[in-house]
Every structure is written in structure tokens, then in C-alpha cells.
Subunit: 299 residues, 2 copies
């Protein structure tokens, strides 16, 4: 897997080096380009491209080098989502480094631009990474019918992500006591599961010509819930402070202290149940092993 | 043209009525859906779909009904750009009505959501309209090769738009005296010309199988500059107040009062020159007539 991850990193670095858009930007706005580059190349797990490439191999198609543009597209779309999330959450830090809006706030403070904020620059950067994701997808070595279908799968996952994000805002308006863990699971499945798990697996099946008909939407749903439940366990105290509607807090209904043993037991049980459900649907040992690692955050 | 515009409006209304995403949202977040619907259906000129449909006819292909999803995609992408622009410009009003961030600020004030702002809701809505644009594009009655090429043209225009927006932020950091009118023309051509003029015309040629090889990039560049110069004339006083780097203000170099007759004469001359250049490249009388109307803001 280390070799595959190195391939993915190389693809990412090469994209930033060679795409004409970045060449223009490096000339026209060197400090802005540096900030974007540092944000994108901050160490990440590259979960989505890893899943895509591993699934391709499990389905009998070698993804390197022909399908690396698809792997890149998945990482670009993830970067786009993180950057827009950082604007919404007003986060200053991610992956141990300043977020893009934060970096750009610093730059605009040095050389003020009438009314332009770091988050404005980050907003446009997110839009453009999303565009580059679609563009990269079209560069897969595949038929036009496959490429068209890939774009369609991408849009479907992106609609789920947006719906999950809007449901999350709605949940923020709803008193904790009126929310069920089912409401939160729906948000996790839509906002995270669809583009993190379902999409890479569906794309692998598409480009590998795999026709076994595995229910990747169901895998993605359970895996997405399990993935977020893992985060809930780690961040319970911060989430409570920020008023976030997480599964853990809804489950505890604020009756228990965040991080109490009863609450953590419930989250852990639900998490294991969803891991089990996701894995039961996957028949490749390599893919199962990777999913297990991703879902236990040991990838 | 009134009939064509009615077709476009009907397509837009039908999309909002029938797409499963909007059906979900209408149930899950009724007030949010109403705000989006009112924003999208506020009276607009529908310049991009009109240009696309008129160009199709001029090139011998009837766009109604087979290519209406392409017309819709162009209006969706325009709505996405306007909404993200309204966030960046912190605009409260557009088309004589409150902008989406403003509307949502009102809704969140009624029923507060921990830390969620109207601009957060609008940001996700913009992303989702962009996704719906790609999805609609794929529904054109065309071959997979044409659809793939259409997506590619879309991404190219979107990259130009993003580059123009980033150049505009950079210009906001640059003292007015250090900018040339050429710098501003580049921003206008990239940010407005590419997706407003070049893209609809290229898509019309693609789906009509037109092979005359008109230089639509050159048409779009001149038309985009002319289109923005028209706005400069109307908004000179507001632009100065907001510190916007417009052609008019760069040309006058702050030596003249905004709206002075010398400044307006220079803008008018440059505008007419660009209209002339754009029209010289177009050989269809119907399309020329529409472009003239669009560029004189009488459409």
C-alpha cells in the first residue's frame, strides 16, 4: 500500500506542477498559489484514491497509470469539500497546519485588498478544485460511455454530499432532544459515506467492467456511518462545546457527560455494527482489509 | 425570442418541480427550498440559454426540446456563479430582491442555528447548483462523445471564470495607478466572457455539428469585455465607493470624477470597439441581432 500511496502523491504533485491553470496562477498570484499548494500537499490519508485503486485491482484492472486521473479526481473533490467545510466551520487548523482561509487571511492582512477576505479566496479555490476534478475524470483511459457514466456517478455523490450538508444545518436549528440517532446516521451516510466509499467503489466497478452487482450504496452507507462514529469518539468534548449534532451527543441526549463510559460504549457498539454490515457486503480480501484499516483509523 | 424565453423559463420551473433533489429538500428544509426557489426564479435575462438556443438555430439544429437540458445547465451554472459572487461581495440585493445569503440570514435569525450563517447555506447551494448543471448537461440528446466534449468545454469555461475571479482579488490588492486597462480587460474576458459567450456558442457548434470553425473564444473575449464595460458605465459611482477595480476607474486613474464626461466617453468608445470586434466574427444575422441586444443591455 505504501507504493500505491506514493503513486497517488506523485500524481497529485505532478498535477500541481504541470497543469496550465496552476502555471498561470503561480505567475499571476504566487503567494496564493503557494498557499493552495501547501494546503493540498499537507499530509493526508488519501483514503478515496486508495480505495479506488485497491478496488480496481480486486476487480482485475490495474489502475496505474491509466486510471490515475480518476484517483486524482477523487482527491481533488475531497480537497474541495474540506476547503468549503473549513469556511463553514470557520476552522483555523486542519492536518496540523493552518487552513486555506486562515493562510489567506494572513496574506491579505500583509497586503490589504479592499474588503477581500481569506474565505473569499478559499471559496473560489474550492470551486476550482471541483472543476479540476471533473476535468481529471475525463482524462481516464476509458470509452466515452464510461466517462459519461463516471461524471454521472460523480454528480450523484456530490448531490448526496450537498444534501447531507444542508440536513446538518437544519439539524443545527433543531433542539438536541428532538433529534434521533437515525437522523444523524442519515447525515453521516449522505455527507460522508457517498463520496468517500460508494463513489470510489462504483468508479472502480465501472472502469474494471465488474458486473457482480455488489451493492456499493449499502457498503458506503454503513462505512460512512462507521467512519463518522469513529470521529465522534475522538472529538466528543470539542463537539459538545461547538454544539455539533453528533450521533454520540444525540444518543447521550446531553444526560451524560461527553466521553462518559456509557456514551462511549453505545458509540463503539454502533460503530462495530456498521463496520460489520459494510464488510459483509464486500467479497474481496484486499478490499476488506483496506476498509477495516480505514474504519479503524489505522490507515 | 419571447417564445424561446418562455421555453427556458418553463424548463427551469419544471426542473425545480420535478428533480428528486428538490423534492427531498422541499420536505427536509421547506423554508430553505422556498428561499432557493425564489432566488432562482427571480426575473432574469437568461442571456446564456438564449444565446445557446439562438446559435443552435442559426447552425441548423432545433434546440427545443432535445437540447433544453443544455440551456438549463447554462442557467444553473450562472446561478451558481451569482450566488458565490454575492457571498464574496456581501451583496444584500440582486434583481431587485434579497440575495440568497441575505434571505437565509433572515431565516436563521428567526430560528437560530448554532453558528450557521446565511452565507454558509448559500455556499452549499452554489456548489449544488454547479453539480446540477453538470448533471443536466449529460441529459442532452446527443452521443457520449458529444457529452464528454460538452463537459470538457464546461470545465474549461469554469477554470477561466475562477482565474478571472482570483485575478480580480489580486487587482484589489494593487494600487489603482499600477493597473492598466489591459489588466482589467483580461479579468473581464476570463471572468465574464468565457462562460457567458464563448461557452454557449461552443456548445451550440458542438451539438449542431457546425464545423465552420468560427473563433468563439475571440468572440467571447470581445463580447465579455463589452458586456462588462456596459455595466461600468451604469455603476461608476457605486464602484468607486466600493473600491472596485473597473476599467472605467483604472482608465480615469482617479484623476476624474466617476461619471465625468471624459471618462464616460472613453468607456463608451472602448465598449463600441469591442462590440464591433465581436460582431465582425459572427456570420449569422439572427445571432448578430441577439448579441447586439445583449451588449446594449436591451435584451
Amino acid at each position: 500500500m505504501q507504493k500505491l500511496r506514493a503513486e497517488i502523491e506523485a500524481q497529485f504533485a505532478c498535477h500541481l506542477e504541470e497543469h496550465s491553470f496552476w502555471k498561470h496562477l503561480a505567475k499571476e498570484s504566487p503567494a496564493g498559489f503557494r498557499a493552495i499548494r501547501e494546503t493540498l500537499l499537507a499530509p493526508g490519508k488519501r483514503v478515496r484514491p486508495l480505495l479506488f485503486c485497491t478496488a480496481c485491482r480486486a476487480m482485475g484492472r490495474e489502475p496505474v497509470p491509466d486510471l490515475m486521473p480518476v484517483a486524482l479526481a477523487l482527491e481533488l473533490v475531497h480537497s474541495f469539500i474540506l476547503i468549503h467545510d473549513d469556511i463553514i466551520d470557520r476552522s483555523d487548523e486542519r492536518r496540523g497546519a493552518p487552513t486555506l482561509p486562515k493562510r489567506m487571511d494572513g496574506l491579505f492582512a500583509e497586503k490589504p485588498a479592499d474588503g477581500v477576505r481569506g474565505s473569499d479566496f478559499a471559496l473560489i479555490t474550492g470551486d476550482l478544485l471541483y472543476t479540476l476534478a471533473f476535468e481529471s475524470l475525463l482524462q481516464a483511459d476509458a470509452s466515452d460511455a464510461q466517462r459519461t457514466e463516471a461524471v454521472r456517478l460523480f454528480t450523484r455523490a456530490a448531490l448526496d454530499t450537498a444534501r447531507g450538508a444542508l440536513l446538518e444545518m437544519r439539524a443545527a436549528q433543531t433542539p438536541l432532544a428532538e433529534l434521533t440517532t437515525g437522523d444523524i446516521e442519515k447525515i453521516y451516510a449522505l455527507k460522508t459515506g457517498s463520496y468517500t466509499f460508494t463513489l470510489p467503489l462504483q468508479l472502480a466497478a465501472l472502469f474494471s467492467g465488474d458486473t457482480r452487482g455488489t451493492d456499493f450504496a449499502a457498503v458506503g452507507k454503513s462505512a460512512g456511518i462507521a467512519f463518522q462514529l469513529r470521529n465522534d469518539q475522538d472529538d466528543a468534548t470539542d463537539d459538545l462545546r461547538d454544539g455539533r449534532r453528533t450521533w454520540a451527543l444525540v444518543c447521550a441526549g446531553l444526560k451524560e457527560a461527553p466521553g462518559s463510559s456509557d456514551m462511549l460504549t453505545a458509540v463503539k457498539k454502533a460503530q462495530e455494527e456498521n463496520v460489520r454490515r459494510a464488510l459483509a457486503l464486500v467479497d474481496s480480501p484486499e478490499l476488506s482489509a483496506l476498509l477495516k484499516q480505514v474504519l479503524s483509523a489505522t490507515v
